[in-house]
Symmetry: C2
Subunit: 461 residues, 2 copies
């Protein structure tokens, strides 16, 4: 699998001499990402492409390559595989679509491609795959123009090209959590999530795995593998095809578990996987699992500048299986110290009035600390309103709480604010590894992921 993530050399079929065809994009990406390996464009009519020596065929490349990327039409794939075999190349990524994702003829051709690859002992990713990204080595195969992605603890194993397209651009532009490795598997004619999961199990850059799948070929193997990985790394799973309409849309015929969401979901949860229902929730939960310690229980301590934030957060906690324990006498005494006489707090705590009396930083610190002191509060969530009157060094206060209570995850929710202010608050919090969300529901969903993983680990240790 290393050849697909960290090849020392890569050949790309389908690059054009002039202009920027699909086949040129991976080369441009590799150059922009600072990939240090050898890049070999293949083109029958060119000696040089994008400053690199080009070869007419992969068979002409002296020394061979670790990986071949085929950005060529579906009709040419069989021939290309044979060339690869003759050249000693045993790893091929096929980007071409119009196989099983298209018509019956495409499905037949995919079977043929898979059978040939197997016969030639070639490991094949795709077809209809835009391949892999490895932020550690700057390796990237995407046919969508990307900017370098910061290194980070989360790896993505997905069936959708989105993660090496729009989502990759979103991460590099705005998400400080970055990524470790990304694999967009496409039609999974050969390499599937089981191969990549097994590889990531031992990948030192990967601390959290986010998996998106529309079905798996071998349910038992999946459960065994995820159970094993979950003892050391959380695995977040988004399984599309939850409903009959969704299943119809996946047109997934990959295996026994594909047809029954409930069975898959149940088995995955038994195996420790954290089930999510959308790409947004997948990112939200993976980030919390990457940034935060594993909590000891499901008790939430919530501090909010708005009463509405309190009730909506409490609603969301109850819906997500999280408790909101009452404040103990000790906590309440500590919380009200130095506050106006009329100040009363519960959990969730509405600290609007406390802020008016004590300022933002003081009020949030005192209330979060009062809650964190309690044994039955395991996870802290602070809800902020982004506006000039509420501005203070949020990251410093949250970071202080996190370091005083190292076993307790600390999460932030930012409501409203101008684009610029929200961005600034968000960046300062995330730089301090405080996972930050734009709604109480998203924050609570992430807290729930922490709790579910923690509960599974307690049962399996």
């Amino acid at each position: 699998m290393d050849a697909f993530f960290a090849p020392r050399s890569v050949a790309i079929a389908g690059a054009s001499r002039s202009g920027m065809k699909l086949g040129n994009v991976p080369i441009a990406n590799l150059q922009r990402f600072g990939y240090q390996g050898r890049i070999v464009p293949l083109n029958p009519d060119a000696d040089e492409i994008m400053g690199l020596r080009a070869y007419p065929s992969i068979e002409d490349v002296e020394g061979g390559v670790d990986l071949a990327v085929a950005v060529i039409p579906r009709e040419q794939i069989l021939g290309f595989l044979e060339s690869c075999w003759r050249a000693g190349v045993r790893n091929v990524l096929v980007t071409a679509a119009a196989f099983a994702d298209a018509d019956a003829e495409g499905a037949r051709m995919q079977d043929e491609v898979a059978a040939l690859a197997k016969r030639l002992s070639i490991r094949l990713m795709g077809p209809n795959s835009i391949g892999t990204i490895n932020t550690a080595s700057g390796f990237v195969t995407s046919i969508i123009t990307l900017d370098p992605i910061p290194r980070g603890p989360i790896s993505f194993v997905v069936q959708s090209g989105l993660f090496s397209a729009g989502f990759a651009r979103w991460i590099s532009s705005t998400q400080l959590h970055g990524a470790a490795k990304i694999a967009c598997l496409g039609n999974k004619a050969d390499i599937d999530e089981l191969d990549v999961l097994a590889y990531l199990e031992n990948d030192r850059d990967t601390e959290v795995i986010a998996l998106h799948t529309e079905g798996t070929r071998d349910g038992r193997a999946f459960v065994e593998l995820v159970s094993r990985i979950s003892t050391t790394k959380p695995v977040v799973v988004l399984n599309a095809g939850r409903t009959p309409a969704g299943r119809e849309a996946t047109r997934s015929h990959t295996g026994a578990m594909a047809g029954s969401f409930e069975v898959f979901q149940g088995a995955a949860s038994q195996a420790g996987a954290i089930a999510v229902e959308s790409f947004g929730e997948m990112f939200d939960c993976a980030k919390a699992l990457a940034y935060c310690p594993v909590p000891r229980g499901n008790g939430m301590g919530v501090v909010s500048v708005t009463g509405a934030g309190c009730s909506l957060t409490a609603d969301a906690c109850e819906t997500r299986g999280l408790a909101v324990p009452s404040l103990s006498d000790d906590s309440l005494r500590y919380a009200t110290e130095g506050m106006p006489e009329w100040a009363t707090f519960s959990n969730p705590a509405d600290i609007w009035a406390a802020i008016a009396a004590q300022g933002n930083g003081g009020a949030y610190y005192r209330l979060l600390r009062a809650m964190a002191m309690q044994d039955d509060v395991d996870i802290l969530l602070a809800v902020y309103c982004v506006a000039p009157q509420f501005e203070f060094d949020v990251a410093e206060v949250m970071g202080r709480i996190a370091s005083e209570f190292p076993g307790k995850p600390v999460l932030a929710v930012l409501l409203g604010g101008t684009a610029e202010d929200s961005r600034r608050w968000f960046e300062s919090l995330e730089a301090a590894r405080i996972p930050t969300y734009d709604s109480v529901e998203r924050g609570v969903a992430a807290a729930s992921a922490l709790n579910r993983y923690a509960a599974w680990k307690r049962r399996h240790s």
Copy 2:
């Protein structure tokens, strides 16, 4: 109620001569919003505040004022109400917190304030309210620094100050839908959502009402009023306190329906209200209802650049009571015209391959049109991936479909992209009044709001 949204004159108690105290913020906001009425600062020790003539007491203001805003501590409210009465002022907004939202003493004081206001025939908004915004006249009472908000079709009636704080800043910075009127009702000692809803029923600037409440004092009156309003304007309702924990957090003791979410929700839905579960969903649905025609049924036509988008959208549709009808032979014939031979489409349609063959604009236009032509497709949803390779004039194509099929709502989902690209795509779509969302789940939730409102209207016309 007009005095609270469009007063010709407003007095503000609590403004300071120097510096920017809470009481100065409404004055600064009024000046920044371009309010043309008379602004009267009240301060016993100042002749002038922020360039405006100040008066020692409201009783000294010749001619009186339409509205008094009391940004003063809770102990001073009773005396202030008596001054207002003597000055002939019959409308007062009380921003002070620490009433029923704080301790028992605060609750007792709130009862006293409410009783006195009633005896003096003063209508009172609050306490613990940051009041109103009227974008048409530039009227604003918020004690949070705001920028002018663009005029728009949605009015907000809420219990949370967030809507005149962080959310107001978010709208003015990023949300092209703007707002008509905003009322943040706080503790509702006198004026409550029933008063404001009745006012907005006949407000020509208000086309959609978004309501957030933690309970209503008179369930029967609420249902009657919302039923009547819903025949002409959609009412989106977020009721906090869905769960026991949420209800505990609301500490809401305002009426018979407060305690039972199911009863409230059921009654509200019977009355045509569109129930939502988060602030985000509230904004999402209100925007769709403001921009789009009322659809004729629940059939969705979905076009997505990603197969994952197809299955996740189908899942979300089924979960939300929306149908995803199969493509008719006519539609399929039209869809595949000029496409590569292998191109096959269903609904949701994965058009990745069609884009490769025909370009973005052509592929999206043809597929959306193929679906819109079908009688059983009532709502169109296009899912885009924001990346350079997928760039085209999205707004033009979506706008063309919307104008060719004027009875069919057209919604967009933008996945991923850099902050800058997403912003640019979003703005061009929303400028064309295509409601735009950042996930398929949010887009489908908005489509579901359109469908639920349409279904209610069909039953009640």
